[in-house]
């Protein structure tokens, strides 16, 4: 656990189009940088390129906004078609105020605009949606990376799909994990004793979120580095997925 951890940006992945084979694009970019996949590598991939590869793109011109979307857009100087897409991605609105839509997505994520994003797609006329099943996307990408690396059955790597979200109470956005494959997203220290023999009560560390946040540091936002490798983190291999990071409504006081 306590060795040096390294975070390597994966450069030159290039433009990702619908239907792209992301595993191959990533593998080729790694090889072009004279790197290789190593056992224990964690791949953090931004949602944006996963969504693009999966064709989760909406042309604004194709959207017919509802009256509800139009009213909210009018009051808040928004594009009604954008609001409409956000509503379609939502199963519940958590806050709808001051022009901000905090939504619970159909996956159960709570975030601004249900994860619908208008940046970094060709022109201003397109929106990207979150993957339909980010954990499934992470699992598929992990399998594909194992395949292209030539070890389809036993290459021990993990994949985290990340997105950049704001938080209540704190300024600014951070990367969080929305899909996880190959590793336990949470380390549960409950019941373990600290060095004084005192039981630790509430220590479940959301390491997948911390790994996603760490990867953002080499990605930047303008520089278009949509993926990174974290090397040297001794994760717990697991079939667990990112849904474990969703707080159960019964223990959540802010929804």
């Amino acid at each position: 656990m306590n060795s040096v951890l390294r975070i390597l940006p994966i450069l030159n992945i290039g433009e990702v189009s619908p239907g792209a084979d992301l595993g191959t694009l990533i593998f080729d970019a790694i090889q072009a940088s004279d790197l290789a996949i190593e056992p224990g590598d964690i791949f953090v991939i931004t949602q944006k390129i996963v969504s693009k590869a999966e064709g989760r793109i909406v042309n604004l011109d194709d959207v017919q906004p509802s009256e509800f979307a139009q009213a909210f857009a009018r009051q808040n100087n928004k594009d009604a078609r954008h609001v409409e897409v956000v509503l379609r991605e939502s199963r519940r609105i958590v806050r709808m105020d001051r022009g901000v839509l905090i939504a619970e997505t159909r996956h159960g994520f709570i975030c601004a605009n249900a994860g619908v994003d208008e940046s970094n797609v060709n022109g201003a006329q397109q929106l990207t949606l979150l993957p339909v099943d980010p954990d499934g996307s992470a699992r598929a990408l992990r399998r594909r990376l194992q395949e292209v690396a030539g070890e389809p059955d036993n290459l021990d790597v993990a994949v985290i799909i990340s997105d950049t979200w704001g938080r209540p109470w704190r300024t600014g956005q951070v990367n969080m994990a929305i899909g996880v494959a190959g590793m336990a997203p949470i380390i549960d220290y409950r019941g373990q004793l600290d060095p004084y023999g005192y039981e630790m009560h509430a220590s479940m560390i959301a390491v997948a979120d911390e790994l996603a946040a760490a990867a953002e540091l080499v990605m930047g936002k303008i520089d278009r580095v949509p993926a990174a490798i974290i090397r040297g983190y001794d994760y717990t291999p697991d079939t667990g997925d990112g849904r474990a990071l969703l707080r159960d409504a019964s223990t959540d006081m802010f929804r």
Copy 2:
């Protein structure tokens, strides 16, 4: 920005007592590991040892709980003295439900139990409080590190004091920055254009929180690694402080 980022645990800092010279303890631990401080290093230090060095420790036996604290403790099977200390550290209770106290601290942080912590102090009879002024603590520690490194005026390093907090909506806790010195805690991309020339609207990245989260990955919780160096992150030197990470109440829909 896009070079490899490394995170090095600072091992063998040892026990920290009230009045300890944290800068020297850290410097000695670094040297004992055959490392040296390098320009551009970011030191992430857990709140726990900062609070201990500053004597922010309360003996439970010295606490006289108020009736309010006693009532809440009774209802929720808590130690009334602990509840009392949490209330004293709070300027406002955000949620008080199901035995959980989410408080706004006198600094303006919103977190469980106002940051009062009962783990990792000698025996179960002590609590640690957050530093009185975490940004001041970060600045003082930064100056001290510059001094002990022999470059009191021009060693370009940054210091982040971190604590481990839960979040609404998501399971588990992550490290966040509560005090910052020597670097801009937020990168503001607003107004910049993405690669398609499309203006990015809402991209303020809380890099200090991401750095704190990243450092936690080499700290663990049981292993007692209370500090780490992040090397290779091209931060923006700045006199800014961690208060910039506190969302203004007027833009916060969850307090």
